[in-house]
């Protein structure tokens, strides 16, 4: 092991289906969700037709017009979230600080919308009329690039793609970046944008609520997102970007910053999984030892799980969390943001934000839609009727991706 710096979360900014940070947290605790009928693209003749769409966000409030015209929407979300995170952290970086400040963005698909637009243009009009303005936005790191340009940040800059744990993985990488001494301050997080292509692909795969089509008919059943529910029937897509300001403790203390939480560390392991599917509950990643080195399991009072209302992932998470903490942290409360803001590649950044907020406010947002807890989940689920916890000492963010990569983040009182 190594001795290393302490990393604090000193700011949060977001563009989300529940609005920016303050609105998001109020609404989440009140049990609201951000799901709306999809009216901005054709979802086809049968259900589903619901998603969680970013709202209460005006890009013009965060980005000047000359920059705005070039940016794709996902990059606009990222730049907006970063500006808000810096403001939330009360950090207006000096030129020297900006030169050294890092950025890590996690996303699974990035700008799939404009990829399709570019290709459509190429197909329809041929190579000589292909659009040179769109092309640069198609690299996955366009968002991180725009953040650097708009905020003048020249520190270590990276973009992480790890399917549905892109957000968690970005925060893990940012943590390492600070601990290795490459930067003292890093904006880290991520998200994704709803794309019609991905919607239709997920729909055809049967992973979207209300699930697979019945033979000869359309999909039927409720369209809802209810992680860990016995009756859950699929996920609902969402979008947004959450960025956290990670700061070396000495740097935060020098400027008198307040911290939501300490990011104590992370554990990344993988388990075998069929391609494009979540791993079965029978395989459990070997992260217990790594986590134990970070913090005793019985101090974990809150778990923000990636459970997303699919039959597969929630079953895996239930088994995984029980194996990891079941006996050692029997009082831990389990929640998930996916019941309120849906599922998307970088959604784990929101899970981390919720963990930080839970630590600051000693509050656990309930599983909004939960009606019948899945008996396979033996841990305590955060339901609306539970009283607030006496204390929140540490919070675990548990992320598992299609294809089997697992990333866990551990946050604690600063």
């Amino acid at each position: 092991m190594h001795e290393h710096a302490r990393v604090l979360v000193t700011g949060i900014g977001m563009v989300s289906p529940l609005g920016p940070l303050a609105l998001f947290w109020d609404r989440l605790r009140a049990g609201e969700d951000g799901f709306v009928p999809i009216d901005w693209f054709d979802t086809g003749p049968t259900p589903p037709a619901t998603a969680a769409r970013a709202r209460d966000w005006q890009p013009k409030e965060h980005i000047k017009p000359t920059a705005l015209r070039r940016m794709d929407r996902f990059s606009q979300m990222a730049v907006s979230a970063c500006r808000m995170a810096l403001a939330d952290a009360a950090l207006a970086p000096s030129a020297a600080e900006a030169d050294a400040m890092g950025v890590v963005v996690g996303c699974a698909y990035g700008n799939l919308l404009e990829t399709e637009t570019f290709l459509a243009g190429l197909i329809a009009k041929g190579p000589t009329l292909a659009n040179p303005m769109i092309f640069p936005n198609l690299v996955l790191n366009a968002a991180a690039g725009y953040v650097a340009i708009e905020l003048g940040l020249r520190g270590p800059n990276s973009t992480v793609c790890r399917n549905e744990v892109s957000g968690e993985a970005a925060l893990a990488l940012a943590y390492d970046t600070i601990v290795c001494g490459h930067a003292d301050v890093v904006l880290a997080g991520g998200g994704d944008e709803i794309s019609p292509v991905l919607f239709h692909v997920n729909k055809d795969l049967g992973v979207l609520s209300p699930g697979r089509r019945r033979r000869g008919g359309g999909a039927s059943g409720r369209e809802w997102s209810s992680p860990f529910d016995r009756e859950r029937n699929g996920m609902v897509m969402g979008e947004g970007v959450a960025m956290l300001l990670l700061e070396r403790a000495e740097h935060a203390q020098t400027r008198g910053a307040t911290a939501y939480a300490e990011l104590v560390g992370h554990a990344m392991r993988s388990v075998p999984a069929p391609p494009h599917l979540w791993p079965p509950p029978s395989t459990v990643p070997a992260i217990a030892d790594e986590l134990r080195q970070l913090r005793a399991a019985d101090e974990i009072d809150v778990i923000v799980s990636c459970a997303n209302s699919t039959r597969g992932l929630d079953a895996f998470e239930a088994a995984h969390l029980a194996a990891l903490l079941g006996e050692r942290a029997p009082g831990a409360l389990v929640t998930s943001v996916k019941g309120a803001i849906g599922e998307f590649g970088g959604a784990g950044a929101f899970s981390a934000a919720v963990a930080a907020l839970a630590l600051r406010d000693r509050a656990v947002p309930p599983l909004t839609a939960l009606e019948h807890p899945d008996p396979a989940c033996t841990l305590r689920l955060a339901t609306t009727d539970l009283p607030p916890p006496a204390g929140v000492r540490a919070a675990l963010v548990s992320g598992t991706a299609r294809g089997g990569a697992c990333t866990a983040l551990l946050l604690a009182q600063p």
Partner: protein
């Protein structure tokens, strides 16, 4: 079919605004003799490439190299003159 000079300039301004996604700029806000590629409109080399594509797509006129492009893109007046000249050459 050639359009009147005023119509052409009007059309070019609209093309600039929609094609280059200019925000909060109205056609009336672009002067005929104002340099197109200068700080005011915030355009850069990628915009120049896109403008070449737009001119080819909407007027069927190719801009063969940077030299010709620089002269043609000097202002709305210059661009309108260039297009009119190319169109009468082909006629």
């Amino acid at each position: 079919m050639t359009m009147s000079s005023e119509d052409l300039k009007s059309r070019l301004k609209e093309l600039l605004i929609t094609g280059l996604r200019l925000q909060d700029v109205a056609p009336a806000g672009i002067a005929d003799d104002q340099p197109i590629f200068v700080d005011g409109l915030g355009l850069d080399s990628i915009d120049a490439l896109e403008l070449v594509v737009l001119i080819e797509e909407h007027f069927g006129i190719a801009i063969p190299d940077e030299e010709v492009g620089k002269k043609a893109f000097a202002s709305i007046n210059a661009l309108a003159d260039f297009i009119a000249a190319e169109q009468s050459r082909d006629a």
